[in-house]
Symmetry: C2
Subunit: 160 residues, 2 copies
């Protein structure tokens, strides 16, 4: 049985990016908001900040968790997290958009499932009606889904 | 030679937490801000949001990157990211504070180094005066540190 999780996180290293873009607050904010939208996420709030002498940090809180970016223009590098939950959001679409907007020529992605409720030590064994129910778009499940089968733990996977 | 990175991220799964705390916007916001402060971070901006019917999401943007939390009170579970850069911030102090405030009885932590500028495929080989210089509190290095030895890639480590 495939293990399921409450959340799903992509940790992306964007290397060899356009350094001017990485240092441009408006460009970064626009790219992150567009990444949220193209992924199918619902934007709740956002904060973006440009640092001196360079670099931009920003977070978009979405109904399905968050997207975050930190840029190091001097290295052409940006660290991006795409943390989502639910089945209605496709963070890979946001990833593709950011790759293009940042002009990244090299990248790596680590995928991590968050909130695996069944653990090897047996202390977390919430029961679920079906495994699929844990991935509702709302990211919150009614307590009455705790009635059936357990799920298995899952470790991180490198997906690209 | 120990590899060094631009950033350092702790991805924490807090299980078996106090469910009332997890659903309390003020308590979560206060805990996250205190976690930033006890870690030695400089708070830049913050956004927190309580969802219906339950759950809180929030991010504290710090000068040294960000702290993020998403709570699932119905499972007693919170996903926390502590993303920092520089040598002046100790995210483990924030971790300890959050463990206590959330009342977590079980947890796991994955540590990931972000922005390893030397990669196995050889495309990222920035040169540095010394490895230590990459971890300045400002998180930004002048370009003139690109003058010496290369650093090696590092993969993720489970630290607890």
């Amino acid at each position: 049985m495939k293990p399921r999780a409450l959340g799903h996180q992509l940790m992306v290293e964007f290397y060899d990016c356009d350094k001017d873009i990485l240092d441009n607050l408006e460009a970064i904010e626009g790219a992150m908001l567009d990444a949220a939208l193209v992924s199918g996420a619902t934007v709740v709030e956002k904060v973006f900040h440009r640092f001196s002498p360079w670099g931009v940090s920003g977070v978009v809180v979405i109904a399905e968790s968050h997207l975050a970016i930190h840029t190091w223009p001097e290295y052409g590098y940006a660290a991006v997290d795409l943390f989502t939950c639910g089945d209605t959001v496709d963070p890979l679409k946001g990833f593709d958009l950011l790759e293009e907007r940042l002009g990244s020529q090299n990248m790596s992605v680590v995928e991590m499932k968050r909130g695996i409720l069944s653990q090897a030590n047996g202390v977390h064994k919430p029961m679920m009606e079906t495994a699929e129910e844990i991935a509702l778009p709302s990211c919150s499940l009614p307590n009455n889904v705790f009635s059936g089968k357990s799920i298995e733990p899952e470790s991180m996977q490198v997906v690209a």
